[in-house]
């Protein structure tokens, strides 16, 4: 960046912070006071951000895995996650789950929902790759991108249709397009209170379960990619497709595997968000997808750790903005930070320079 460009950028940033900032909730004395008054609220809010961020991170992994392998932004991925939520809700309905059902009786339905939504999303993702992306493998790069947007609309309408099946699935409620309430099954027992620790920090069993499952999925994926032959083959294909072929890797198989894993993660995220936020709606894939995609780019697209970091960062930023800035401006703040980071690090936080030695 040239010096004058940097100067202009700084002026713009300063302008935003000091002049537009207060309108958008950036009232520093008030924020300092609020934090001083109740530090535990800050911690609670950070925890909320961490959990939401973990869910975003799981969706972001789907973007980053696919991008790493075939350099396609799979715009249908967010909507796939939404369908995962609908599949989970359908399973809950089939088991007759309702708000406040005893935790023990909810364990099997939750596991079943995890299997069904992960399985369905994995299958759908593989089918999408096979019929919407693979025929365009050698087409100009915009073609599969448009195809992905098309699939996104198909999934969204599928979600709308699914939400309207009230005669078969009563749990969907009366209006197809309305947000569906997802049964609240995870106990809201406060962990610190149960342990006899005096604190104002809210941290419930529900939070813990979602966090542990999300973290488990991420650790599992990391181990898979780092340790197993199939995971290593995925990395090999991402780093040099021709070299991967030369050592005897079936690249098509690895691409299918990537879509399978990405889809399963999206399905799991759909269940988690239902359990955590207790509401799902057919348009949620778009916003969540946008955030997850942002997280992937923020971390350095194609980089698995980067997607996790980016997801958690966006979750934390959103939570802090919701509490201390202005919830109406949260998206603006999140994306302003994104723009800033990308201006200084265009390849993302953990993105690498792709130059290789000849």
């Amino acid at each position: 960046m040239k010096p004058w460009q940097k100067t202009v950028l700084y002026i713009v940033v300063i302008y935003f912070i000091f002049l537009l900032g207060p309108t958008a909730g950036l009232d520093i004395p008030r924020i300092v006071q609020a934090i001083a008054q109740s530090p535990s609220l800050l911690v609670t809010q950070l925890l909320v951000g961490l959990i939401n961020g973990a869910i975003i991170a799981i969706i972001a992994l789907g973007y980053t895995l696919v991008y790493g392998i075939i350099e396609l932004i799979n715009f249908a991925h967010g909507d796939l996650y939404m369908l995962g939520g609908f599949a989970a809700l359908t399973v809950m309905g089939a088991f007759g789950m309702q708000d406040g059902a005893p935790f023990i009786s909810a364990i099997i339905p939750m596991l079943a929902a995890l299997l069904v939504s992960a399985g369905l999303c994995a299958g759908l993702n593989v089918l999408t790759e096979r019929y919407a992306y693979r025929p365009l493998r050698n087409a100009p790069r915009l073609a599969p991108l448009i195809s992905a947007i098309g699939v996104s609309f198909i999934f969204q309408n599928l979600g709308l249709f699914w939400g309207g099946l009230r005669s078969f699935i009563p749990i969907m409620g009366n209006t197809a397009a309305a947000p569906k309430s997802f049964p609240d099954l995870l106990p809201r027992t406060d962990i610190f209170q149960a342990l006899g620790i005096q604190t104002k920090i809210d941290f419930t069993v529900k939070d813990l379960v979602v966090l542990v499952v999300a973290a488990g999925l991420m650790i599992g994926l990391n181990l898979f990619v780092q340790r197993t032959p199939a995971g290593k083959a995925m990395r090999a294909v991402a780093q040099n497709r021709d070299a991967a072929k030369i050592v005897g890797i079936n690249v098509d198989q690895i691409i299918v595997l990537t879509f399978l894993i990405g889809g399963a993660l999206a399905g799991a995220a759909g269940l988690l968000v239902g359990l955590y936020n207790n509401t799902i709606v057919f348009t949620m894939g778009f916003t969540a997808g946008l955030r997850a995609f942002t997280a992937a780019v923020l971390g350095g697209i194609g980089n698995i750790t980067g997607a996790m970091l980016g997801g958690v960062l966006i979750g934390l930023l959103s939570a802090l903005s919701d509490q201390y800035l202005s919830s109406r401006w949260t998206d603006a703040w999140v994306f302003a930070v994104l723009v800033l980071i990308l201006v200084f690090r265009p390849s993302g936080l953990l993105g690498e320079n792709l130059q290789e030695k000849v």
Binding site: A233, D242, K245, I246, V247, G248, I249, N250, E352, E356
Partner: protein
């Protein structure tokens, strides 16, 4: 062992190979020399199945490779150290070698033993075992590419410009390793721009010019051939 019969390969509408025929017998070192853009790498890519010939046949031990996928060709026993080395830059040296054995179904102990052999052959790689491939020097990357190809336990080893971009000292080191590998019984098809070095290690050679084979014969004869001396050995 390997036979190409009238093979033509195209990039889109551009014909890169114009009906070339060549053969490699078991135990031989055969070199394919020629200048930039003559179609040397294209020939190796076609043999490996990365490119498909529009015409002609490729036979490996009597089997037609026309419809055989690349990973299966590797399993049949053809491995390659490709042009530009193509190592995996964000994998360690160890992982790169592991990937070389990807299609093998052997026990880990057997693969481990082969890896030790590669490390004995290239002690530098052992020193750099946990380093990422992308951080290696050019010469080390070349050793890694050859080592990775050996990890597939091929019966035919394709080497694409192993001397490219290396200092003269390293070039002779690489060539003496090629001789070593050949002495152990490996069949090698060696593509080189450095015709002088290639012809000293090879039994036979082919000269490729704009997609056609213009000369073929024993390496000794090619070394003294008038045309070869002028065009490829830089002698007056």
């Amino acid at each position: 062992m390997l036979e190409l019969i009238d093979v033509s390969t195209y990039y889109g509408n551009i014909q890169a190979l114009k009906g070339i025929s060549l053969h490699v017998e078991a135990g031989e070192v055969v070199t394919l020399i020629g200048s930039n853009g003559a179609g040397k790498s294209t020939t190796l890519r076609t043999i490996q199945g990365l490119l498909r010939p529009r015409q002609g046949r490729i036979l490996f031990e009597g089997r037609d490779l026309q419809t055989v996928p690349t990973e299966e060709i590797v399993r049949l026993g053809i491995a390659q150290s490709p042009e530009g080395r193509m190592i995996f830059p964000r994998m360690t040296v160890l992982e790169n070698l592991e990937m070389g054995a990807f299609q093998r179904r052997d026990k880990p102990a057997v693969i481990k033993a082969d890896m030790d052999q590669v490390f004995d052959r290239f002690p530098r790689l052992r020193e750099r075992m946990t380093q990422k491939g992308g951080t290696l020097s050019g010469g080390e990357q070349q050793m890694l590419a050859i080592g990775r190809a050996l990890m597939a336990r091929p019966r035919l080893l394709l080497l694409d410009e192993p001397s490219m971009g290396l200092a003269p000292m390293l070039v002779s080191q690489i060539f003496s390793i090629i001789q070593e590998i050949s002495a152990e019984g490996m069949t090698i098809l060696l593509v080189e721009q450095n015709a002088r070095m290639a012809l000293t290690v090879a039994n036979r050679g082919y000269v490729l010019q704009t997609g056609e084979i213009v000369l073929a014969g024993d390496a000794k004869d090619l070394q003294v051939n008038e045309t070869v001396r002028k065009a490829y050995l830089g002698e007056e």
